[in-house]
Amino acid sequence: MRFTTVLLPASVFTLAFGLSGLMVTRTESHAKAAPKALVENLSTRTTPPTEEPLLAQVRMHLRSGDLEGALSLLRAAAGRDPVSFFNVLATLPKISGLDQAIQEAGAALPWKEKSSIDLLNSIMAEDWRDIALESWAGSRVGGVPDEEILATAQKVRNSGWIAGITRLMEDAAEKRPTEFMDLLNRRGGTALREAYMGKIMAVHPELASALYRSIPDGSLGANYDRAYALQARVRMQPSAKNLMATLEDAPGGLQSSFAWQFSRIAYGAADPAGRRELTTAIASQSPSARYRLLSGALFSEKPLPAEEFNQALALSPSGIQQREALESWVKAQPDLSPGERTWIDALPTSKLRSRAVELMDQRAADSR
């Protein structure tokens, strides 16, 4: 039998645009006009004249240990001469104190120019690059068509997942939620709709279902994004109510493989009161739905407290699931002492109680 698709947490994936992400491993690509090592600069003037003054001055300060002076120079240059600013940045290791200057310089870089894109691509330090990109693209929101911002930001390679378009997405989610979703649906591509759904859940959760359902067949990456958009909905609001509402939209509903995956997310994120609500909601479902939803509860990363565990266990229609859950729960608690067995009496069936005794006896034997 084939394996069910299991969704990985979003952070595992990097943005893949269109076809080129399919056939080629996206590599780090930073073309830049490289200022050569200082030793070379002295003999051959290879950097354009406009760059040299700032670079030379910054280096002069650094050579006398005057970090503050170097930073001041850079901050002053940021908005006025972003090109020189970023060229100098490309020669520096990550130093703190420049974030705001980077924002300023990013916003001041000419929009859409290839030279700007090359410059941004040349920033080595990842968070610096993301700050610059977010400022460069984000400062255009509202002044330039959404699609232009999307298309342009994506030319800066190897940026963070939604760097450059975070502000755009937040603005769109608030002010033109459906229109922007239509744009994403037309353009296709993976992962953007998941990110956008996250923004929607923050400001217009009541639209989540309709926007999810708007993803059409024929849109590139549709099925991938459908799965992750559903996951985003649960992740952002892991309540029992939202879990059930989201599963209503998922193909297969409570019987689907999404049921146990999303239940797991919900149980992982909930506090004890939230977990109680989840378990109550599960209790009234059919056996096959309960089986799947309980997989999320019974095999969660962090073992449930004994009382909650027993309640969930009692709801399972399958003795096999119960047994496996018990074994997993015990294994996840290496500190559960073989001498302390009162919890065994509270287990819902005699089969489970016998098995628990076996497991604890084995643990006692192993520790001798």
Binding site: S29, G252, S288
Partner: protein
């Protein structure tokens, strides 16, 4: 010169900016005091960024047995700071060149991938003085040239006849990059390529155009258009379209020459679950009339049965798909597995089903599994 403050960050920044004296003293001190590679690397890399030629002098002070590991750590550190600096180093230092030509496995991936960001990578690596052969070069750039300048250089080298015969992966990777970042140059260079390679790239272009990123899929290719794409292209197109919820029409794919069919059929049905289950059902209905081997048809039915059960929890449909498998042994196996799994996950539901089954060994076995699965 005024003395530098003793803050390590400032001393290193001063070194990067060209004042290496204090950093060198600190490096010497650390080396004598028995510092680790990780402790030495930040200092050595800062110095080498300003004065790469110094490595060959310094390296003589380092005991033989730790030269390699110190170099690895240092080059990786320089990679983080500024990929160009590593290539400047490789240009001037035989020791650094040796590492770049043949990095040990544990540094290889990081070193190469990051260092390829620099456009100097192709400059240095293609230099005959570096001494790499065509195969080695193709391998280094197999996942991409890194920079758009690098991609151009690779195409130029290819046009100059460096790689004959089968198109190496580095060309494909460079093609995608140039198409995105410098299409004008790509078309110019494509005109100079050897015929076989140009032919392969033409297929890639067709594939790219069939997908048309940026808009909804609105039409279906003919069998002839598919054949033009070649096996790998068909597989890629099929995957993209299935993921888009608009798979290649089954009858078109079934009309492909036999040797091209497996590129599609291994994944065709499973990709339709869970979001396009009705399409999958229609596909199975169509199967009988299509010119495909029984083996392929049965495999699709088996896959669909498994997917419907696991992804959608729909046992009745799953069993109905399994019932369509023509090979008896395969049909029995699929049905039995489904029933077993059903029994284990939903004993009450399975019990009801068993009651409605024909008496016989299958029902007996089924009931036995159910009983064993009860709480």
């Amino acid at each position: 010169m005024t003395p530098l403050p003793s803050d390590p960050e400032r001393i290193r920044l001063a070194a990067i900016a060209g004042r290496v004296t204090e950093a060198r003293s600190e490096l010497e001190r650390l080396l004598t005091a028995g510092a680790t590679d990780q402790e030495l690397a930040p200092w050595l890399s800062a110095i080498l960024m300003a004065d790469p030629g110094w490595l060959e002098t310094f390296v003589l002070r380092v005991p033989d047995e730790r030269r390699a590991s110190l170099l690895h750590a240092t080059m990786l550190a320089m990679m983080e700071l500024q990929p160009d600096s590593v290539w400047n180093l490789v240009r001037r230092s035989p020791s650094a060149l040796a590492v770049m030509k043949n990095p040990p496995p544990h540094v290889r991936r990081d070193l190469l991938r990051a260092s390829l960001r620099s456009k100097l990578a192709t400059e240095v690596l293609f230099d005959p003085a570096t001494g790499l052969n065509n195969e080695e070069l193709a391998k280094i750039f197999a996942n991409g040239a890194g920079s758009v300048q690098g991609a151009r250089r690779i195409f130029q080298e290819c046009a100059g006849g460096r790689w004959e015969g089968e198109m190496p992966d580095c060309i494909r990777a460079a093609w995608y990059q140039l198409r995105d970042e410098d299409e004008a140059k790509l078309r110019e260079l494509e005109a100079c390529l050897p015929e076989a390679i140009a032919g392969n790239l033409a297929k890639l272009e067709k594939l790219k155009q069939s997908i048309k990123p940026g808009s909804l899929i609105s039409s279906d290719p003919s069998s002839a258009e598919l054949i033009d794409l070649g096996g790998a292209g068909i597989a890629a197109l099929s995957r993209e379209r299935t993921e888009a919820g608009r798979p290649l029409p089954l009858e078109t794919v079934a009309a492909l020459p036999e040797e091209l069919q497996p590129t599609v059929f291994n994944d065709y049905i499973s990709g339709l679950f869970p979001f396009n289950a009705p399409l999958a059902e229609r596909s199975l209905d169509q199967l009988e009339g299509l010119p495909l081997s029984d083996a392929i048809k049965d495999k699709m039915r088996e896959t669909a049965a498994g997917a419907v059960w696991e992804d959608l929890g729909d046992i009745e449909t799953a069993l109905s798909f399994a019932a369509k498998i023509t090979d008896e042994a395969m049909r029995i196996k699929a049905t039995t597995e489904l029933l077993e799994n059903y029994a284990q996950t939903d004993p009450p539901g399975a019990m009801e089903r068993a009651a409605g089954m024909e008496a016989g060994p299958q029902r007996d076995r089924f009931e036995k599994t159910i009983k064993a699965a009860l709480p």
